[in-house]
């Protein structure tokens, strides 16, 4: 039975590759560096190009998806790392007994809320609020200093909103893992710090955090992997841009995962099947990235002996 686990991972990779093979062959390396996802003329007669049957004018390039995926995840990590670390410190060092229990549970529940509910919350609550109040304010303040936050503040859909939602979704992973690591750090380390005249916060920041840095890095990379593959929430708040690179923090974007969902209906209309195969290639690229990210994180975590304790 145990063999089913690794087997399904291999099967997923193999079937995706086989299915996407004609698309990989047709698209070549241009797939990764061009911004020209175009299904071609739907009612045109299919033509043969490079040995593949495609619709006239069809081309597939997903650079904008790769950029959108990486940028939104990067924003999420930049925000989630401090939030996760500090909240973990407060829970592990500042709270006791039932209060600590309750706070831990509250943070972990953030990870239990389904993706699509985050999407609903973002769509109904965050987007109007951010689009009308926060983003115009940001362009007038930070935007004057950092051009990337300047320019059109948009309607609220876009990169930054997706980043905010992703932050909430991945922060429990960082927070809970570090909290457990802090709780299980040997008492002697803490006591020797105190005996040297350091305050409790100084012990945490100068001794315990550096001590647990491998765990922290591992959990952060895992959280990055989670953000890269997040689908529904991002789909509902990112604005779903096509073939354009984001020009500022408020630009609408698409990510690889959300694109696979949003394009299914139109891709199925392609009688040659090349559109669906190219979507499979998007999936393959996403899968390779997440496997790399996860493998790196797991390797780090098992080096630090924290494998079993990571919250997933």
């Amino acid at each position: 039975m145990a063999v089913i686990l690794p087997l399904s991972l291999v099967a997923i990779a193999v079937f995706l590759t086989l299915y996407a093979w004609p698309a990989i062959h047709f698209n070549g390396w241009g797939f990764l560096v061009h911004n020209d996802w175009d299904l071609g003329r739907m009612y045109g007669n299919p033509i043969v190009k490079d040995g593949q049957t495609i619709l006239p004018g069809a081309s597939y390039g997903i650079l904008f998806l790769i950029v959108g995926t990486l940028l939104s995840s990067l924003i999420a990590i930049i925000l989630a790392l401090p939030l996760g670390v500090f909240s973990a410190i407060f829970i592990a060092e500042g709270l006791k007994g039932p209060l600590r229990e309750a706070a831990s549970f509250l943070v972990e529940l953030l990870a239990a809320v389904p993706s699509v509910v985050y999407g609903l919350f973002g769509y109904i609550v965050l987007i109007p609020f951010l689009g009308h109040h926060v983003y115009p304010f940001l362009t007038q303040t930070i935007g004057r200093v950092i051009p990337w936050f300047g320019g059109e503040s948009g309607s609220g859909y876009g990169l930054l909103t997706a980043g905010f939602i992703l932050t909430l979704m991945i922060v429990p992973l960082i927070s809970a893992t570090l909290r457990d690591a802090l709780n299980s750090t040997p008492r002697a380390l803490r006591e020797s710090g105190i005996s040297m005249g350091a305050s409790r916060m100084e012990v945490v920041l100068r001794i315990l955090l550096p001590q647990n840095r491998k765990v922290l890095i591992g959990a952060t990379i895992l959280a990055l992997g989670r953000a890269l593959g997040e689908t529904m929430a991002v789909l509902m708040v990112s604005g779903n841009a096509l073939n354009v690179l984001p020009s500022n923090a408020y630009s609408s974007v698409s990510t690889m995962a959300s694109f696979i969902v949003s394009q299914l209906d139109s891709a199925l209309q392609d009688p040659t099947g090349m559109a669906v195969m190219s979507l499979a290639e998007v999936g393959l690229v996403l899968m390779l990235i997440s496997i790399l990210v996860n493998a790196a994180a797991r390797a780090l975590l098992s080096l630090s002996g924290m494998r079993g304790r990571v919250k997933t």
Binding site: M1, S8, L106, M232
Partner: protein, 296 residues
């Protein structure tokens, strides 16, 4: 005591350095507290939003009628969600628990075991939409099952497997060696030790893993769009060739419609899903707490 010195309770006139350190400590305590506050506030705001809108949208009709385009109830979606996740769980538990036993008991330290463990860890990290696409290619298209209950459930089962396997493995690892050794000493065979001693001893951990994977699967949307698709009708009993409805689809799809009736259904669906997921998490927490209380 050192905190007393830093907060100035012992020394009448603290030095500049001590003052600086005192304020830095206070500053960092404030930052950490603020971080936790932001997270707690976000969660409670989100839950309040869902409960406020959802409770107002729930009626008796929600449970007795099927969706009709943009109105009606959610009966078909509630049944569909439970069917898909229930069937997935029924498939994932035996495979996941056996895999966990294998990882915990046999092959430990050997290359095969290490590779299997590593790959199951990586499988957790594969985005669920990829699993959905895999299910689409293999079951929906290649096996010709079309959008169906079986394709959706198997896809979710693959997603649950590594969670269940890992929690089982961890739970079994925590059972003290002496327990196992005493059982062997009494003459019990390997299978008997596992079934009668080890599994019962690790049952709370295993149960927690099963509950959490159920909660994750109930909240999934992306892989189901590719495998179950959507249906406005009640499930008619076919495992293949019949699309199935589920609650998360209603949230995603109906909130984008310009009609109030559709929005009400989306909120009601969000309420139901969040309620189920929260409930399962509270139960899992309760199970774990009782266990740790028992041990210490």
């Amino acid at each position: 005591m050192i905190d007393n010195i830093l907060t100035g309770k012992l020394s009448a006139k603290p030095s500049v350095l001590l003052l600086k350190r005192r304020w830095m400590s206070r500053f960092w305590w404030f930052v950490t507290g603020l971080s936790l506050f932001i997270l707690g506030f976000s969660l409670l705001y989100l839950l309040g939003f869902v409960f406020f809108h959802g409770a107002g949208a729930l009626t008796l009709k929600t449970f007795t009628e099927d969706t009709q385009g943009i109105a009606g109830g959610l009966r078909n979606a509630i049944v569909g969600s439970l069917l898909i996740s229930g069937l997935a769980l029924a498939m994932a538990i035996p495979v996941g628990v056996s895999a966990g036993i294998y990882l915990a008991e046999y092959d430990y330290g050997r290359l095969v075991g290490r590779v299997a463990r590593f790959m199951s860890d990586v499988l957790v990290g594969v985005p669920s939409i990829i699993l959905g696409y895999f299910g689409y290619i293999t079951m929906v298209v290649y096996l010709g099952w079309k959008f169906s209950l079986l394709a959706a459930s198997i896809t979710l089962a693959i997603m649950m497997l590594p969670y269940i396997a890992r929690t089982t493995e961890m739970a079994l690892r925590e059972v003290p060696h002496t327990v196992r050794e005493s059982a062997y000493a009494l003459g019990a065979g390997e299978g008997r030790v596992m079934l009668r001693i080890m599994l019962p001893a690790g049952r709370t951990g295993i149960l927690t893993g099963i509950l959490l994977s159920l909660s994750i699967s109930l909240g999934e949307t992306a892989p189901l769009i590719y495998t179950a698709n959507w249906s406005n009708y009640m499930w008619e009993g076919h495992f293949t060739n019949e699309p199935v409805s589920y609650l998360t689809y209603v949230i995603w799809s109906y909130i984008g419609e310009p009609y109030t009736s559709a929005h009400r259904l989306a909120y009601a669906a969000a309420f139901l899903i969040v309620f189920m997921v929260l409930g399962i998490n509270v139960i899992a927490r309760y199970v774990l707490r009782n266990k740790s209380g028992h041990h210490h």
